[in-house]
């Protein structure tokens, strides 16, 4: 075990996979000479050269499509979006090309490509730079969606995503990059896609979440503990594939569920999980499932308003109390 930041964990995963497979390359804005806008690709240009670590023009649609074409031809591209907010310009190539190609060609063209970058809000970046984008990718069959919340998960899941033969939207977070945590040294440390992780054990209520919200959920669980309430905190880690068994297990255990997500409520990830739970564990539910989400507004700039817009431990605690009828 080594202690490293989420950023370093991603960097290590990229380095190891690029060493392991010469067909893996990284392309995106500022990834090479600038070491990445968030320094995730620090040192990779030096180590792998400018054919494998490539600064692109600000042409999201173009370089995303270039990556998809390269994957069709047999390479394993890692396409970095400076943030997923900018990927709205590229989503046609992700959904209409990458996610559908294997099907439209009846298996002739697997699509081993990773689209990665931060999703959701950082601090005071306002409406056009703060959107959580999971739903836009998880909705479509053919696209996997991975949302690591810790350094270890970041490393193990990025390596798995690069080795996966389907398109993966790999969603990070600006506010996670500096977060430190223990990461196994092992070069072949892989976390398979589709395995949720019970980040905390408790039997009174299930807090299910993904991505950077696990930290909000864990804070809430600590507060609840003071009131003698023990929460299960289930981190889905990947939202497609989805570890439904783990979800059903925690529901069977606690019979009460709160879903916490960074994004907007309407047709969000929580809506999907909630409707699956009520469908598949109807008789286990002692209370309606509640969702804690971003306020249903574009993200404001002002510090105070932004704080109010984001899911908070307070709101999670309150939701848990409600499902516990406290």
């Amino acid at each position: 075990m080594a202690v490293m930041t989420y950023r370093e964990a991603l960097n290590a995963a990229l380095r190891e996979e690029m060493e392991r497979d010469p067909d893996v390359f990284l392309m995106g804005e500022e990834v090479a000479e600038y070491d990445g806008a968030y320094k995730v690709s620090k040192g990779l240009l030096e180590e792998f050269g400018d054919q494998r670590v490539v600064d692109s023009p600000i042409s999201e649609l173009g370089f995303t499509g270039l990556g998809v074409g390269a994957a069709m031809a047999g390479l394993r591209p890692v396409i970095e979006f400076m943030t997923f907010n900018f990927a709205f310009l590229a989503i046609d190539q992700v959904i209409n090309s990458a996610a559908k190609m294997y099907y439209m060609s009846a298996g002739q063209f697997p699509m081993p490509i990773v689209f990665r970058g931060p999703t959701g809000a950082a601090l005071q970046l306002s409406a056009q730079h703060s959107q959580a984008c999971e739903t836009y990718y998880s909705h479509a069959p053919g696209c996997k969606v991975v949302t690591p919340g810790t350094p270890a998960d970041a490393k193990g899941l990025l390596k798995a995503s690069i080795r996966d033969n389907d398109p993966v939207a790999f969603m990070e977070g600006e506010l996670l990059y500096n977060m430190k945590g223990e990461v196994p040294d092992d070069d072949d440390f892989i976390i398979p896609l589709g395995v949720a992780d019970l980040k905390r054990e408790g039997s009174d209520v299930s807090i299910i979440t993904h991505g950077k919200m696990i930290h909000v959920a864990l804070q809430a669980a600590q507060r609840l503990e003071k009131d003698g309430i023990e929460a299960d905190v289930l981190d889905l880690r990947t939202i497609r594939p989805l570890d439904m068994d783990a979800i059903l297990d925690t529901v069977a255990k606690t019979n009460r569920v709160v879903y916490v997500e960074e994004g907007w409520p309407y047709a969000g990830t929580g809506a999907q999980i909630t409707s699956m739970i009520q469908e598949e564990a109807f008789d286990h539910l002692d209370a309606p499932i509640l969702r804690v989400t971003q306020a249903d507004v574009p993200m404001p700039y002002a510090k105070g308003l932004e704080a109010l817009a984001k899911p908070s431990a307070d709101r999670v605690v309150e939701a848990c109390s409600r499902v516990l009828y406290r």
Partner: protein, 361 residues
């Protein structure tokens, strides 16, 4: 079938011109006849598809290449086996030109399991991974960045093949075109971007939605651009033979304004003419600009073809087209379970399908 009726210009003058045309382009008798056979096959194949569509054997959108066949034969014949081709949805003939069996292409149009996509792709999505035909794409302009990616792979792997990327004239107004051409230029990617300029995007004349000509649309990227008569298969062949060599030599990308004309409606569900172009215009162009008739006359003139030979070649083309249709008709419809095949290349732990089938078994 105007294109097989004699319209021989008499006089030795025509002979000289015809021989000169072949020599100028460095195309010998065998190759010239091959190009004729190619185009006859494409014409007859598309006519078969037209028939099949009319009787409901083919559904959805079906875009024919009739009138534009030189854009398949002339552009793709000169390529090497390991060169790549990628294009849009008007691609039946180009798929055949790159080496997919006409039988398989027709089976795909019929939505049957012997199609390259087992009937799941249809007319707009024909792929031949084994012959490096990369589809078959339905989003206007969407294939252009994909082509840049294929060219990227060629360069990355230090191969010496090229990718030919076809698009329609209307596609040049897509942002994807702009972004891809800039990257191809900066990174000197081995790609030939070909605009099949048939003057219209559906019902919109190019001149109505663009201030400049197609050939000028590469200026901003510093990509060498040329205009080619896309109805003259000899000129087209020679141009692509030479361009492919330039690009193969590491010369960076090229841009071609391939001037052609669509003899049919935009798709089988659209009228041949109407408010956007007159019947007279279409008839005039069919007379003047039929790529098959043009080559036929040249070969007649050069004394390399006579009526009997022509009819023999045409009969072969018709036979291949009929065989393709019969084959397609005999091919099985995909079984119900195929609906769920090929969504995912790799299963993982956890659930990938969310329509309840896992649970319902």
């Amino acid at each position: 079938m105007a294109e097989t009726k004699t319209r021989r210009k008499s006089g030795g003058n025509h002979k000289k011109e015809s021989v000169a045309a072949l020599e100028k382009h460095g195309i010998d008798e065998a190759l010239a006849l091959q190009l004729l056979s190619d185009m006859l096959l494409y014409r007859r194949f598309e006519e078969k598809a037209e028939e099949a569509y009319a009787i409901g054997k083919i559904g959805g959108f079906c875009h024919l290449h009739i009138g534009q066949e030189a854009g398949a034969a002339g552009c793709i014949r000169p390529l090497a086996e390991d060169d790549y081709v990628i294009t849009a949805y008007r691609e039946h003939t180009q798929a055949i030109a790159k080496g997919i069996d006409p039988k398989a292409v027709m089976a795909e149009l019929y939505g049957r399991v012997d199609g390259p996509s087992r009937g799941k792709g249809g007319s707009m999505h024909i792929y031949g991974g084994d012959v490096r035909f990369m589809g078959g794409h339905g989003i206007v302009g969407g294939q252009v960045p994909l082509a840049a990616g294929i060219a990227w792979k060629i360069k990355y792997k230090k191969e010496d093949s090229v990718v030919v990327c076809f698009m329609g004239d209307a596609a040049v107004n897509q942002g994807a075109f702009h972004e891809a051409l800039n990257m191809a230029a900066v990174w000197e990617l081995p790609a030939i971007f070909v605009v099949e300029n048939n003057e219209y995007g559906m019902g919109t004349a190019f001149s109505r939605i663009s201030e400049t000509d197609v050939a000028e649309r590469a200026l901003s990227y510093g990509i060498p651009s040329s205009s080619v008569n896309g109805q003259d298969v000899l000129e087209t062949y020679a141009a692509f033979r030479d361009l492919a060599e330039e690009v193969r030599g590491g010369g960076g990308p090229r841009f071609v304004d391939l001037q052609t004309y669509r003899f049919r409606g935009h798709s089988m569900s659209d009228p041949v003419s109407g408010t956007y172009r007159s019947t007279e215009e279409v008839e005039e162009r069919k007379k003047k600009d039929d790529p098959i008739a043009m080559l036929r006359d040249t070969l007649f003139g050069a004394g390399l073809l006579d009526q009997d030979k022509l009819e023999e070649l045409d009969a072969e083309a018709r036979a291949l087209a009929s065989e393709a249709a019969d084959f397609a008709d005999a091919s099985a419809h995909p079984a119900a379970e195929e609906l769920f095949h090929h969504v995912w290349a790799e299963e993982n732990h956890g659930r990938l399908f969310f329509d309840g089938r896992e649970r319902n078994g």
